[in-house]
Symmetry: C2
Subunit: 482 residues, 2 copies
């Protein structure tokens, strides 16, 4: 009956993916709607995922030599106006501060949609010599983009992210950094979030406003739509010229620096929901799960005297071993209700402990992903739990990878292309002439866009553009996307 | 000569404390001025302190059962208007967003000066039953207050902080939480920042806008002025009534919740500068120092072949042992310049390694605080370094505590009071009648305010108010303050 109740609260995924997503976020208390249009509150259970992402990604960012800093939330309008492409890209989405207290400001301040402009200005003050380079700075911050259509985690007026901003002596170094970060993101998302991605360059039409080239990692959500998971931009010297970021090079000549910027955001939490979730709810990879192990005592007979003390010992032991563990000792819910509840909340591993288990000094372990049940000896439980979590992490990745492979198809001509998109979605690998007109036409007619041009391109022979039939310039991954 | 250069860049503390503070922050690259009035950039060396503060404090906040979440940056004007006292307190300092993209908003949005209003609104949705209580949520965030007079870290238009917001079943629980957090702050600041504080209740005049009572920790900076380091507010039912945060209690009766809120900010970084710094620069307590150990190789002869490899080994060994260690192997600076530079930057411990040290398998350790020098065997260095850092941490606290004790004076009458404030500053312990008029008069005439009313009050007999001479209601700590 309690499982019944859960099902009625969450729309089945197959029935309405979008409703399923929103139901799940609300019901699992990942986030809630704020009273302002397009804004959300990240609730503790959702924020714990962000804390895990921060910890695991920050370690990687620092291992590559970057340091964190904090730049102002507000950017003067004139700064954004300095780089016209950048302004054009962001002006429609900017929230403007016009008053401080009772006073009208002389110049409007943008609430940062991204920080290239303010950071460019500061770098022009900090950089004099090649000895000051590279500058490798990252910032964890909130940003605001006034979006018309919003959806929790995927596109909200305010979101949390990290933005890296680096400056280098040479074009080559900037390009190396751009790709090093792309690879860092790929490895991070695949090994910690268990989400396989394709990666490559964005087309000029899809690139960041002000960048020379944008690279991205893209993943296929379980409804067959692609989600951009992270971007790494080679900014060339655009911002350096605009903000006059010059350095004296090794030959005492003044040069403009070469820059990159890159970021991932709380959108990754949405990706976790849409990649791994099913009709029973969320399924978090152990590496980022807010709770890795949920202990449910079987509350029958004198369980408070027999079962509960053992459950508490197990909790303490696993906690000491470094696991994120929670004991659900509430008396107002049945074990069955708790099973369904914590499945819905995506906890990777459940330990059930009942009176008979206590007698046998064992616990029943149930995997969220496969529902597989095994009994584990309570002594030495931490090693077994560790092993099982590792298995679950890998299984979730493999399942998502299988899905991605099954849903990556080649289209030899436009009819095929349109049919695949209409019937099955997923990624389509197809050749493209390099012309923006074809790109636009495909988008208009199929709602699919070029997600990335893979870095490793096949040697082109007589391949033809899937749209216009002219000579192909590149192989591309197309998909409908969020 | 290089030490000369440093001295000329930093105003001596005794000459002009305020200039010294600003010079040091700029020169040590803790922060820089942003191009917008009153805003700053926290540079990597300064931000690393904030990261250490976050890590050490977050651990304590969670150990007391709190969880983190994230609430929106923007708060509708009507929400602030619901609690008039709160609005009056913050309205003059609010930055207002009036436009999103090209559209004027129907309702202005406040950039959060603090989050009681928006969190109160969300709690009214989340809390139904006593089973939902207590709610113990903390948020790490940026806030904006449009200040007229600003100073890096101490008072800036935007700053970073944590704000805890809790809701409880009873008045008693809320009061316990308020004082538990006050004690957490005291212990944190004293043991990690090595800054001794006095703590107690604020007067009604100085309390938070909307609180029933505000408690604070206050420290004496080395110029004799007090700095408020953290506050913990018992909000009573003010916000619960305004935002209709009700719960069904254990007897099925609807009740308003009892709330608290509390916070510390990047101001703590300013406190570190002003508490421990001297004419040679900063002096960070090891627990929060961005770099705990600086290794300076003595660059003479073939040092790159002899000294540098050993210096690198030492760095790696200390890094592996968990210390924040940096090796300054730059060739463009002399060892003497580096000594002065890293002293100025406040690194608690310097290890000098020269050719003769390499032969003797030793390093010369120099304490930043006492300048004490000893030679240490390179094998087993990590244990010695650990010991020395512990000693430095304690010594910095003791020095600050001695200063605080020397500069806490009792004043029996108003003449004495005025003379102490004028000649020596520091804390003055004096009796007060409890009347706001006396409080205001003292502020007007001496620029001193009541910092706190200590929690443990002496038994009052015939004591008289230091200002009006009427019957005393409480013992108070007075000081001029930031």
């Amino acid at each position: 009956m309690s499982e019944e109740r859960l099902v009625t609260q969450i729309t089945p995924k197959s029935e309405d993916f979008s409703r399923w997503y929103l139901d799940l976020i609300r019901r699992a208390e990942l986030a809630d709607y704020a009273p302002m249009k397009g804004m959300m509150v990240i609730r503790p259970y959702g924020y714990a995922i962000w804390e895990n992402i921060q910890r695991l990604l920050d370690r990687r960012i620092k291992a590559l030599g970057h340091v964190n800093a904090y730049f102002p939330l507000f950017i003067p309008e004139s700064f954004l106006r300095k780089e016209m492409e950048h302004l054009k890209g962001f002006a429609p989405e900017v929230a403007w501060v016009t008053h401080g207290g009772d006073d009208e400001l002389e110049e409007r301040l943008a609430v940062r949609p991204t920080s290239e402009a303010i950071i460019g200005y500061m770098y022009s003050k900090w950089i004099q010599s090649w000895r000051d380079l590279p500058i490798l700075i990252n910032q964890w911050a909130n940003v605001v983009r006034w979006e018309k259509v919003t959806r929790p985690f995927l596109r909200t007026t305010e979101f949390l992210w990290q933005e890296g901003h680096t400056a280098h002596e040479t074009r080559e170094e900037a390009q190396e950094e751009t790709l090093r970060i792309l690879e860092m993101y790929r490895e991070f998302v695949e090994s910690e979030l268990a989400i396989p991605v394709v990666h490559g360059r964005k087309t000029d039409r899809e690139k960041f406003a002000g960048a020379e080239a944008t690279y991205a990692i893209e993943a296929l959500m379980s409804d067959g739509k692609a989600l951009q998971m992270g971007t790494s931009h080679n900014l060339g010297q655009h911002f350096a010229r605009v903000f006059d970021i010059k350095f004296e090079d090794r030959n005492q000549k003044l040069q403009y620096v070469w820059q990159t910027s890159w970021g991932v955001s709380t959108r990754l939490i949405g990706a976790l929901v849409m990649s791994h979730g099913d009709d029973n709810g969320l399924a978090f990879p152990p590496q980022v799960a807010p709770i890795q192990v949920i202990i449910v005592p079987i509350s029958i007979g004198n369980w408070k005297e027999t079962v509960l003390p053992v459950a508490n010992q197990v909790k303490d032991a696993l906690g000491r071993a470094g696991f994120r563990v929670h004991l659900d000792d509430r008396t107002e819910h049945t074990p069955g209700w708790k099973f369904a509840e914590w499945e819905m909340r995506g906890v990777p591993l459940r330990l059930e402990i009942g009176p008979r288990d206590v007698q046998k000094n064992q616990a029943i372990a149930v995997r969220r992903d496969s529902k597989e049940k095994i009994s584990l000896d309570i002594s030495g439980l931490d090693k077994k739990v560790e092993e099982m979590l590792t298995v679950v992490q890998k299984a979730l990745f493999q399942k998502a990878l299988d899905f991605q492979r099954e849903n990556t198809r080649e289209a030899g001509n436009y009819e095929e292309f349109k049919k695949i998109i209409e019937d099955r979605r997923g990624f389509i690998k197809a050749f493209w002439c390099g012309n923006e007109e074809c790109e636009a036409r495909i988008k208009e007619e199929t709602m699919a866009t070029i997600r990335v041009l893979p870095l490793e391109q096949p040697a082109l022979k007589a391949e033809r553009c899937v749209c216009c039939g002219k000579e192909a310039a590149a192989l591309a991954y197309f998909a409908r996307s969020y």
